[in-house]
Amino acid sequence: MGMKSQVITAFTILTFSLTAAHAVEGDPVAGKQAVAVCQSCHQPDGSGMNIPGGESWPKLAGLNASYLYKQLLDIKEGTRKSPTMNPFVDMLNEQQLKDVAVYYSQLPPNEGKGGEKATDEQLARGEKLATDGDWNRYIVPCSSCHGSDNQGAGDHFPGIAGQHAGYIADQLRAWKSGKRDNDPQHLMLAIAERLDDEDIVAVSAWLSRQPAKPAK
């Protein structure tokens, strides 16, 4: 136990100095307190929940802190529309949003769900889109923006490996329908509009089954 908390402290200090150099300066200890209202959906371990046929709750554990903070601000300001999330972000002030972003980014990522029933054919199609793309339709591989193994790249391109299939599919459809419209330079929109529904189901299932590694 002593060992473990030492390791965690060292890790925290490291991340702290790293995030301080970037945009988000948050206190994960304060964040842990503030997330009490979030846990019914995002779960105490940040794993969220895949909800087939309903609105899935995204996994937040291990995602990049700057990315999370930007999403919380966007939801608060209404540039990302989520009636489900709105009342909860409204409970927190800007500093608390930073704190929870840093807190969630430091939780160890857990497994994505929702891809269990995918067929081999779907998985092959999903893998191809995620790692090679389909240039005949100008679908750039997901990994060229979301980083190698789709683990996330820098502060702007979140990890999508190991996210719940239901959530990934919800977001891709939201971009297509115009409901989600907060991506920088419409980089994500451009790709999402070129995916058909079979692509979406396939790539979401495949990604959800890939391991997510902790944010660096």
């Binding site: 100008y138 750039v140 060229s144 980083g147 190698s148 790249a153 820098g154 330079q185």
Partner: protein, 337 residues
């Protein structure tokens, strides 16, 4: 319609490929259309086969293995970092979509027009020599030996992409070849405008200082200038080449979204920064510029003063390689005969 397709291109897969080029360009419902130019009357259209097509083909299994290796080297050339590659590039960093994409200098034409004469080195070049060129300049590297396993694999991949195209087919221009020159910019090129365009459209990936993004030792977004980028002898250091690359390929996923003017401006901004020395350097930048002026440097900013600094006036090879010019770059002459 007939004139557009070669006999060999009439297979279903190929026709479907052309159709999808057409569809993606025509799709105006999208908020971010790709606007890929359509083939012009009489142009030669070839849709290169994919790696899936390779698996389905009846080539010898050993040849398939070599082509797969070539493909792997093409899209992950970083596996040769420190050996043949001394910067942060893959072949596919400039030849997008595995070297198949029109207007992204698809590589198949090289397999059917070479051996041929090139002004850049003033002699007849083979396919391997063309690949050597991109290794030496674009990758700031030392090419794999002529005839080596890796060279054979890369050449085989190029040739596979050209499947069905007649050798030296001539008379018609090839649809989507190279980085076709854009009309001259009406307002000239401006560093200041270029900087603004860069910051609004490019720096999210390539970073404000042009260094791109390296994460856990892997290049995610390739560098545009500085030590780990292409050197001063690379084709893309010519403003007309870079502006066309940008217009047709960047920002990633949004081809043809910038205007021609914007593409020239941002190209001149990028090429107004320092990069590793031209392997043909004589020891004097002005002299080197002069020596290759007509065939090359009149299109680059090398040896020019930009913002009070003489570009290329240094011995910097990028910090990773310990030679200026790879041995593979050599003159060729048949005068003895």
């Amino acid at each position: 319609m007939d004139g557009l397709f070669t006999k060999s291109s009439l297979s279903l897969a190929v026709a479907a490929g052309v159709l999808s080029f057409t569809l993606q360009a025509a799709n105006t419902e999208h908020r971010v259309p790709t606007n890929i130019p359509q083939p012009e009357e009489g142009q030669f259209v070839h849709v290169p086969p994919t790696m899936d097509d390779l698996e389905k083909s009846n080539l010898h299994p050993e040849l398939k293995r070599v082509i797969r290796r070539g493909h792997d080297l093409f899209v992950n050339t970083q596996q040769l970092r420190g050996k043949n590659v001394f910067n942060g590039m893959n072949c596919s960093s400039c030849h997008l979509g595995e070297g198949r994409q029109p207007f992204s200098a698809p590589v198949w034409p090289a397999a059917v027009v070479l051996p041929n004469y090139r002004t850049k080195n003033d002699h007849v070049n083979s396919l391997e020599e063309r690949i050597v060129g991109c290794f030496s300049f674009s990758m700031n590297g030392k090419p794999p030996e002529y005839g080596s396993d890796n060279m054979l694999a890369l050449a085989a991949y190029h040739q596979w992409l050209a499947k069905g195209v007649p050798m030296y087919q001539s008379g018609k221009s090839m649809y989507g070849r190279g980085f076709p020159k854009l009309p001259e910019p009406e307002k000239g090129m401006s560093f200041e405008r270029g900087k603004q365009i860069y910051e609004a459209n490019c720096s999210i990936c390539h970073a404000a200082d042009g260094s791109g993004l390296v994460q856990n030792g892997e290049v995610v977004f390739p560098p545009l200038w500085g030590d780990t980028s292409y050197n001063w002898g690379a084709g893309i250091s010519r403003n007309f080449t870079l502006s066309s690359f940008i217009k047709h390929n960047m920002p990633l996923g949004q081809p043809n979204s910038l205007t021609g003017q914007e593409s020239w401006d941002v190209a001149s901004y990028i090429n107004s920064h320092e990069r590793p020395q031209d392997p043909r350097y004589t020891g004097n930048v002005k002299e080197t510029r002069e020596k290759y002026l007509d065939t090359f440097h009149k299109y680059t900013n090398y040896g020019l003063e930009v913002n009070g600094k003489l570009l290329g006036d240094h011995d910097n090879l990028g910090g990773e390689k310990d030679f200026l010019k790879p041995d593979a770059l050599r003159p060729r002459t048949f005068s003895a005969e």
